[in-house]
Amino acid sequence: MRMGTQSNVSWKRPRVQSFAATALVVILLLLSSNQNANALPAFARKYGLRCSACHESWPMLNYFGQKFKDNGYQLMNDRDAPIWQNPAYWPVTFRITPIWHRLSTGKVQTDTGVTRITSSGFDLSGLDFHTGGTLEKNFSFYVLPSSDPTASFHFETVMGRLDNLFGSPWLNIKFGKFELDNLLSEKRILTLTGNGGIYQIYHFRPVGDGNIFGQIGDNELGVELMGHSYDDRTRYSISLLSSNDGQVGLPYGANSYTGFFAASQAFDAGKAGVQRIGVYAILGDAPTTWLTNMGNPIGGSGTGNKSFHREGFVGQFYFGQHVDLQVVTQHGWDNAWFGQGYGDLIDASTLGIAGLNNTGGTLPAGSRAPTWNGVLFEPHYVYSPQLIFIGRYETIKMSQQANGPGYMGGTGSASNFGDISTYTVGYRYNPFMTSRAGFAWHNEYNWLHSDGTSPTGTNINTSELLIGFDFAF
């Protein structure tokens, strides 16, 4: 009732142009459709294990599930090859989430001024069709056609795997489009709201930054060498990726690549459980210069590569059977050209936005490489395998703005311009727990705060309340 009352409230603001606010709304809409996740009842059906064997709460993997994945979706009990399956077995799972949600976005630019837009109603997530498993012992695959809520499909994952090369678990190769080896997997995130359904730290870009290629939360095209100890306590991975944000058709650079590295070590801590700490780093380059035709950038012609990197620590800490804490940190750095908006001219052109093309000029005085630091805390309380309470707090602070002192003769951007903080709380309740299907009653609230990015230069708060049925079969 109160929500209904408040949803009619709006605030009139002076009309001020702001690309940042409009872009924020567009990003939120895009992100709200990007909730595909990997949880496969098809695997549970194949092996006769309950969802809870591999998932702390589906779709989030537990340690055993991580080992299963690292072994190429194999239990390594000599029953992994398809020859052991009923010929009628077809490893397909679908997942979709009907929801009701209430989204409230502050300080949106409209023709009548800057105002808060609040809306609520029934809605749908996208639809995922997961299919994956073994083609033969140590040969596996994963294909994930994924749609947005309007049923427009794309390939979120397409890969083949060769595992245990030369009989060693330290040599496994993945080829195609896949999720980067993030210990805290965004594709297996437990939350569903537009801002809470992603890890902000995996996608952060400073305001006005043109580099879309450093988002470690997006599935990427490339090849990965991965290895692990027999018990998966020690893990490493090295990936060579195209700097194209996972987009097919070589749409961006002529010759741009990115490397991703991750390693971790787990420790037996007795009754507390297995603790894991790790590091990751992504280092790459991406184009800023484009050939054009009638002023429009030509896909695949991007040169003038500039570099970027992000690196951080990951921790998975368990305090007995009921409480755990996931931690990710990040230090990010983009070349100053990206900071000034150079980079993804292709998508800007598609959206009708006048992007920037690096045609040999120089950057304005005061231009600097944007850098930032962020941290993510995600505690869980696992009441039982059927009920999990989720919390998350993320904060990302700019440590160096792209527009420094003296930029355009001014003082540059405020030190906190574009900082974000967000928290999410929620829970998932699975009324049944079998090896055949997954169903969760999901309730979640997210709040996001962004500094100085409103059309008036003030802060923006966005919130979302979501209730839904999340199911997979």
């Binding site: 109160r2 929500m3 009352t5 408040q6 409230v9 605030w11 092996y47 006769g48 294990l49 309950r50 809870s52 064997a53 340690y63 055993f64 080992k67 239990l75 390594m76 009990n77 000599d78 029953r79 009989g167 027999y230 018990d231 998966d232 037996d268 801590a269 007795g270 009754k271 459980g273 297995v274 059977q321 009441y383 039982s384 395998p385 059927q386 009920l387 309470f389 709380v425 829970y427 309740y429 009324p431 049944f432 727990m433 079998t434 090896s435 009653w441 309730n443 609230y445 309340l465 209730i467």
Partner: protein, 311 residues
């Protein structure tokens, strides 16, 4: 506006509290599939080295990882059991395949601890080496709550395994003769492929069809159900595989004879690199016929000849 924001905030919190409270009330920490235990199981302990496992600490892990196959009552009737072959272990009768104790005797806690961490090849039992040692010890204690045997009987002592003698073509030859004499081939087949004349008639102690082990299957990483080393194979002869037609040979085979049999069986694993296959290859790839006098000659191999390693 500030008042509205506060109301909004508190309404969100209230809705969470109400719905979460309802959900917690529904999510009792009891099995949701199959029959519920009539009474809480008696607390048990396990002892693995310096570790002490407590059954009450494994309740959640058992439900999360084990109950789907072994059932909430430990009777091997989890919701997946009907689809599995071989069937999950029935903990209520406390009969276990992989033991270091003689046939019919309860296994040691270490035996169960090792089985959980090793998994059982050619079955749906995974390798649960992702648990902490404490978790595994707790699960062993929990498994023991399902059968009254653990209260009435004591676990046996582990058999003694004498040192393995060197692998020779003679030991392989003798092992092959034993394979014939002891009629292992009737179930396992002349080539060890699990296709002997009795193979199709075998059932386990619960009248479920069971296949003899196929030594020729698998590659260089092939394992036996109860381990992968020669000592593990030796142990299988002496202890038997309880609950299956595989008997104990503790009373009919001498230790060195058992080692000879181990050496021969390794040569049946044609796709696996082993010292036995190296010796066989060096001898031209053929096992010479066993000559009785070799068996009567004083043993050159090391190791004691105590039968079966303990009674």
């Amino acid at each position: 506006m500030k008042r509205l924001n506060q109301e909004h905030f508190f309404s969100v919190i209230l809705s969470f509290v109400l719905v979460a409270g309802f959900t917690v009330a529904r999510a009792q920490d009891v099995p949701d599939v199959g029959p519920h235990p009539p009474t809480p199981p008696k607390a048990m302990e396990s002892h693995i080295g310096n570790l002490t496992g407590h059954s009450q600490d494994a309740k959640s892990d058992y439900r999360r990882y084990c109950a789907g196959c072994h059932g909430d009552l430990g009777d091997g009737n989890g919701e997946n059991a009907v689809w599995l072959d071989p069937k999950p272990r029935d903990f209520t009768i406390a009969t276990f395949k992989c033991r270091s104790t003689l046939t019919g005797i309860l296994p040691t806690d270490e035996d169960l601890f090792d089985t959980v961490g090793r998994g059982l090849t050619n079955s749906n039992m995974p390798i649960w080496n992702t648990f902490t040692r404490q978790q595994r010890a707790d699960l062993v204690a929990y498994i023991k709550t399902f059968s009254p045997r653990w209260e009435k009987e004591k676990a046996g002592d582990p058999i003694k395994i004498p040192a393995e003698p060197p692998v020779t073509i003679e030991s392989i030859s003798h092992g092959k003769a034993l394979f014939t004499k002891l009629e292992c081939w009737k179930c396992h087949g002349p080539q060890g492929k699990g296709d002997g004349p009795s193979a199709s008639t075998l059932t386990d102690s619960k009248d479920q069809p069971i296949r003899p082990y196929n030594f020729a299957s698998g590659g260089d990483d092939s394992r036996f159900k109860c381990g992968s080393t020669n000592a593990d194979v030796y142990k299988i002869f002496i202890t038997g595989v309880d609950g299956t037609p595989m008997p104990s040979f503790a009373d009919v085979i001498q230790p060195n004879d058992a080692w000879d049999l181990v050496h021969f069986l390794r040569t049946l694993q044609v796709n696996r690199h082993s010292k036995e296959n190296d010796v066989l290859k060096a001898a031209g790839g053929k096992i010479p016929p066993y000559v009785e006098k070799q068996a009567e000659a004083p043993a050159s191999q090391s190791g004691t000849r105590t039968a079966g390693g303990g009674n």
